[in-house]
């Protein structure tokens, strides 16, 4: 799009939108330092919840489980979902309509139904419930989200670039790696991000497909919250956000030092 600076009203609007997104997060962070365990009103400042958190074996285990599931399911669903987007956007084949409809089903289906149906299915084929079954389920609901986002990117994609590449002697695979993939990459990345976000936060389907010892963070937090939304839970969310910001910052600094001139 245009390289001109966005108009002032647009910048103000964006600022307000970001404020809407971040205001609850700010509140959440502030209340992670609250001394009141029940965390209904502000009582006083303390760091003790972070100490509690670091000693909470259950939370540490749940974090590990969550990350394993989120990374595995994101990678697999992004690859499979991108291929499906290419197929649907570029080709006609027997069963096209059926394939397209099928891809909407995981988006449409009420989570409880998907959870129960997967539970019944895994049980009937004798699969032991655990990290594996959760990951399989997450991939299933992630694929359509990736496909939808990548398709939006592919739509209107100029095929003549690819054809030109092939004319210059590149084979199908080279063209895909060198031309197609870089062009649709923003779509693939946002699809992957969406999948990762969904996987991190899923409760209902995870609940039904979980087995002994595979409790994830949302399951853990849901059970902690039944007592009260203690500041420990807030502390956990705070650390999570902080980690992402630090990673993001390092990435930016690295990028900047690599290509100081690049402005496009």
């Amino acid at each position: 799009m245009s390289e001109k600076k966005p108009a002032l009203w647009l910048r103000i609007y964006a600022l307000l939108a970001y404020a809407y997104i971040y205001f609850p997060i700010l509140i959440l962070i502030i209340f992670s330092f609250n001394t009141q365990k029940i965390n209904v009103r502000w009582e006083g400042f303390t760091l003790q919840w972070y100490k509690v958190l670091f000693n909470d074996q259950n939370v540490i285990l749940a974090t590990r489980n969550t990350l394993i599931i989120a990374f595995t399911s994101t990678i697999i669903s992004t690859v499979i979902g991108t291929l499906a987007a290419l197929a649907l956007q570029r080709y006609r084949f027997p069963g096209y309509g059926a394939a397209e409809s099928l891809l909407y089903v995981p988006v449409i289906i009420p989570e409880v139904v998907m959870g129960i149906s997967l539970l019944a299915f895994f049980a009937s084929i004798g699969l032991t419930l655990g990290l594996g079954t959760i990951t399989l389920s997450h991939i299933a609901f992630n694929i359509p989200f990736v496909t939808l986002v990548v398709r939006a990117r592919l739509h209107g994609f100029d095929k003549s670039i690819e054809e030109a590449a092939m004319d210059l002697g590149a084979n199908e695979l080279t063209t895909f790696w060198r031309v197609t993939l870089p062009t649709i990459m923003p779509g693939v990345l946002s699809g992957a991000l969406l999948a990762f976000t969904l996987s991190l936060d899923d409760y209902v389907i995870t609940y039904f497909t979980a087995g002994p010892g595979s409790t994830t963070l949302p399951l853990r937090i849901f059970s902690m919250v039944r007592f009260a939304v203690t500041p420990e839970v807030n502390a956990l969310s705070t650390l999570w956000v902080l980690t992402v910001f630090i990673v993001l910052l390092i990435g930016q600094i690295a990028q900047r030092s690599q290509s100081p001139q690049q402005t496009r």
């Binding site: 959440l28 289906i109 936060d201 409760y203 949302p218």
Partner: protein, 303 residues
């Protein structure tokens, strides 16, 4: 649809097909097959179980009696359930409109920042959603309640005389729903806005279009696929959402999501729950396909 490009256009010299020496049918199938095989096992077969279940009967203990009948479907033909469906449709529609109102300018803004910053801005949208869902909802509860932060602030600056009653009302539900679904609108919107070449806008300007007209005639139509993808990602899950209405709306209304959840987890009537979900599934699928075929990824609307 998109596939037409490959089957209609190729002139012999540019032929992609010639190099692949295979029919596009086979290529398409090869690309889609991982998805189909995967979803066959994790979606189709499990769902067949649900379809079978929907024709069964609830046993006295919430167990399932294998006696085939249509009773569950006839039970659904009732104004009570229609009313619930209507209310859910309204909530989902308002949520979608809300996310477009907030999300479109935001996505547009991100797409117009320098390329290197875009990923950062995009990330900034997603980061809050890497905290936990329930915790975010509770943060909103703290903000919105009678003696909460918003009311204290508004009272202090003298903007209101008495605290606003927001929490546990439909307004609170909408605030929470729009918040939770915003990224699902912004991401696809950004994806299609980012793709628009400056040249296209310049061409419009050259033809004398004013910025607003250029937006209406060029940008908006070109971003339509993103908006449609976003609407699907927001509208449909919003239909089945029950956590936000329960926590921020005080669980005082029943939406489709609650209805189905209750059949499985309180009334223990799995067959009826299965029938209700099948009906919802079919209705939504028809709606989605109609919507996308008509306005969505079809070429005719896209100038």
């Amino acid at each position: 649809m998109a596939a037409e490009t490959s089957s209609v256009s190729p002139a012999p010299r540019f032929s992609l097909i010639r190099q692949l020496r295979e029919s596009p049918h086979a290529q398409g199938l090869a690309l889609i097959s991982p998805t189909l095989i995967y979803l066959l096992f994790t979606l189709v077969l499990p769902l067949l179980l649900v379809v079978v279940l929907s024709f069964m009967t609830r046993g006295p203990y919430g167990n399932i009696i294998y006696r085939v009948n249509l009773g569950n479907y006839t039970r659904l033909m009732d104004t009570l359930y229609l009313r619930i469906l209507g209310y859910s449709l309204l909530t989902a529609a308002l949520t979608t409109v809300g996310t477009i109102l907030i999300g479109y300018p935001l996505a547009y803004y991100i797409a117009r920042t320098p390329p290197r910053q875009r990923s950062v801005y995009l990330f900034l949208i997603l980061v809050p959603f890497w905290t936990n869902f329930i915790i975010r909802i509770y943060a909103w509860i703290m903000i919105l309640r009678t003696e909460g932060l918003l009311n204290s602030f508004l009272l202090k600056i003298g903007f209101i005389q008495a605290p606003l009653d927001i929490l546990y009302t439909p307004t609170a539900v909408l605030i929470g729903m729009v918040y939770e679904f915003l990224p699902f609108m912004v991401l696809p919107l950004y994806t299609s806005l980012e793709k628009i070449e400056p040249a296209q806008l310049e061409a419009a300007a050259d033809l004398g279009a004013r910025p607003f007209m250029a937006f209406l005639r060029v940008t908006l139509p070109l971003s339509l696929p993103g908006m449609i993808a976003g609407s699907i990602l927001v509208f449909i899950p919003a239909m089945g959402m029950f956590v936000v209405p329960d926590l921020m709306g005080g669980a005082k209304t029943i939406l489709v999501g609650n209805l189905i959840r209750n059949q499985f987890l309180t009334a223990r009537d799995w067959p009826f729950g299965a029938a209700a979900s099948m009906l919802l599934l079919i209705l939504t699928l028809i709606f989605t396909l109609f919507y996308t075929r008509r306005a969505g990824f079809g070429e005719e609307l896209l100038v």
